[in-house]
Amino acid sequence: MTTTLAGDVRPPALEPRPAALLLSGVTRSFGDVHAVRGIDLRIEPGEVVAFLGPNGAGKTTTLDMVLGLGRPTSGTVEVLGLEPREAVARGLVSAVMQSGGLLQDLTVRETVHYVASLFPHARPVDAVMEDAGITRIAGRVVAACSGGEQQRLRVALALLPDPALLLLDEPTTGMDVEARRSFWSTVRRDAAQGRTVVFATHYLEEADQYADRIVLVAQGRIVADGTSAEVRALASGRIVRATLPAPSPAVLASLHDLPGVDSVEVRGEHVIVHADDSDAVARHLLTHTPARDLEITARGLEDAFLTLTQERPA
C-alpha cells in the first residue's frame, strides 16, 4: 500500500512524538459488570500488537473505547495525542470489524464511494479497491459477496482514510490460508512504513507469527505484555533438557538451588529442568556438570495463554 500524506512533514525534533495509543488507568463498568478493571498501555507508532484474551476479557470493550464508541468510566484514552473521537474525525484511526457493518443493497464500489465521500483526505477509491483485491467484484451487490469478499471490502473501507492506527478485530475470519498470508504481508508492509496495527485474534499462531508484541488481557486487566517469546516464558518458563548419565544427588541439589528453578526431573540418561531463567540453568549444566546435547524449548503460546488467563480471585 503506497500512501502519501501531502503536507504532513514535520521535523520530529520540535515536539516529542505522541504515542500511537495511550491508555492510562482505564476502567469501564456496565452497572455491576466491570468489563475493564484498569488498563495502562502505551503503543508506539509502527508497532504491530496482538491483543489476546479469552471471550469476555474486555478486549472489544477496550477497542471500542479506542474508537470512541464508548467512554471509559475512569482513566483516559489518547490516540496520537488526541481524544478518540477527534482522531476518528480526522481519519487517523480506523478499524475492521469482525462481521456485519455493510449495507446489503449497495454494490462493492458504491459502498467504497459512500465511505470515501465522508473523509476529506480519502485515498483514491480505485487504488484502495486494487489494494484490497476487490476491483474484480466492484459491480457486485454486497449481499452476493462471499464472507471473504465482504471481509476484503471491510479492509478497503478501513484503509480509505490512510489511518495512522488500524484496529483489527479477528481480521482473517473466513479467509483461506493463502488470503490470510497475503493479508498479513500487507499489514506488515504498512507497519514498516509507519502504520500502527493492533489486532485481536483467536488464532494464537497468528499472534505468534505477525505481532511484534503481545498484550494478554484477562478479566479486564493486562496479565502479560511483551514479545511472543517473553509471554511464553512468563507463563511457564522454559524447559532445559540435557543428557547427563547418573547424576549425583549433589549435582541435582545444585540444580535445584539455582534461582527460578521449578522442578528437576531425571528420566533415564536425561535430566529435565523447568525454569524461568533457562540461561542460568544451561550455563550451570555446561560449566559445572558433564551434561551434553543441551536443548532449550519454550512452552507453547497456547499453554501460556491458558496459564495466564485462568480464573483467579479478583
Binding site: 514535520r10 480526522r90 449495507l103 465511505v115 465522508l118 473523509f119 476529506p120
Partner: protein, 260 residues
C-alpha cells in the same frame, strides 16, 4: 506512509459534519431500488385514487375544487407517508446490520446523518406526491386551481416529516423487515382513522376518537387549501404527534449509544 503522521496538522475534519451529495445520492438510489417500497408507496396510492376518485360523486364540489381533487390529495399523503416511514425505518435496519457502527468510524456527524435521512425521506415523499398527482392530471377528473394544487402538495410534503419520525421510532423498536410489517398495516389503519380513505360521519363516536390519531391532523392540513377550512385541532394534532415520534426516536437512539 513515507513520513510520520502528525495528528494535529495536515488532517482536516470534513465540512458540514460529512454531509455531502454522494451520500445523499446513494441513499436515494437505495430506496428507489426497493421494488416493494416503490409499489406500496407509488403504484398502490395511485390505484386507490383511481378507484376511490371515480365514484359517482367525483364531480361534487368541495371547497375550491371537487371530490376527485379531495381524494387525490388524500392518496398523495398516504403514499408519501408510507415511503417516508419506510425510509425512516431503514435507520433501525442499518443499526441492526452494524452499518451505524461503521459510520461512527467516519467523521460523519450524527446530525449530518439525521439531516441526510430527513432529506431522503422528503425527496421520496415528493416523488410519491408527484406520481399520484401526475396520475390525477392524466386522468383529468380532479379540479382545483393550480395554486391550490401546489399548496396542497407543499403542505403534504411538510406533513410527511411526522411519518419519517414515526418510521425511525418503529425502526428502532423492531429493526429489519418487521418494522415495515407493522408500519404497512398500521399506516393503513391510521389512514382510515385520519379520514384519508373514506370520509367519516362527523357525529359518530369513532370520529371523536379518530380526531386524536396521527394522520387526522396532517390530512386536514394537507387539504386545507382545497377545503378552505381547517379544524382547530389539526395543527396541534400534527405538531403533537411530530414531537411524540421525534422524542420516541431520540429516546431509542440514545439508549443504544453504549454499543452502537
Amino acid at each position: 506512509m513515507s513520513t510520520t503522521t502528525s495528528p494535529t496538522t495536515g488532517r482536516r475534519v470534513p465540512p458540514l459534519g460529512g454531509f455531502n451529495p454522494t451520500v445523499l445520492g446513494l441513499e436515494l438510489r437505495r430506496m428507489l431500488r426497493n421494488r416493494r417500497t416503490l409499489f406500496f408507496s407509488l403504484v398502490f396510492p395511485a390505484a386507490l385514487f383511481l378507484s376511490f376518485g371515480t365514484q359517482s360523486d367525483w364531480d361534487h364540489s368541495v371547497g375550491n375544487g371537487n371530490v376527485a381533487a379531495y381524494v387525490l390529495v388524500s392518496m398523495a399523503l398516504y403514499g408519501a407517508a408510507l415511503i417516508a416511514a419506510s425510509s425512516g425505518a431503514s435507520v433501525g435496519a442499518e443499526r441492526a446490520l452494524g452499518w451505524s457502527r461503521q459510520l461512527r468510524l467516519t467523521p460523519l456527524h450524527p446530525a449530518a446523518y439525521v439531516v441526510t435521512k430527513t432529506l431522503v425521506a422528503l425527496a421520496l415523499g415528493a416523488v410519491a406526491i408527484t406520481t399520484v398527482n401526475l396520475v390525477g392530471v392524466v386522468q383529468g377528473k380532479p379540479l382545483m386551481a393550480v395554486g391550490t394544487w401546489l399548496a396542497c402538495g407543499a403542505l403534504t410534503l411538510l406533513c410527511v416529516l411526522v411519518f419519517a419520525a414515526l418510521g425511525v421510532f418503529v425502526g428502532y423498536l423492531m429493526p429489519g423487515e418487521n418494522a415495515m410489517q407493522v408500519l404497512g398495516p398500521g399506516l393503513a389503519i391510521l389512514a382510515f382513522l385520519g379520514n384519508v380513505f373514506i370520509p367519516m360521519d362527523e357525529s359518530s363516536l369513532v370520529y371523536r376518537i379518530a380526531e386524536w390519531t396521527p394522520m387526522f391532523g396532517v390530512a386536514e392540513i394537507s387539504r386545507a387549501p382545497l377545503t378552505g377550512d381547517l379544524a382547530w385541532g389539526a395543527v396541534p394534532n400534527a405538531v403533537g404527534w411530530l414531537v411524540v415520534f421525534v422524542a420516541g426516536a431520540a429516546w431509542r437512539m440514545s439508549r443504544d449509544t453504549a454499543r452502537v
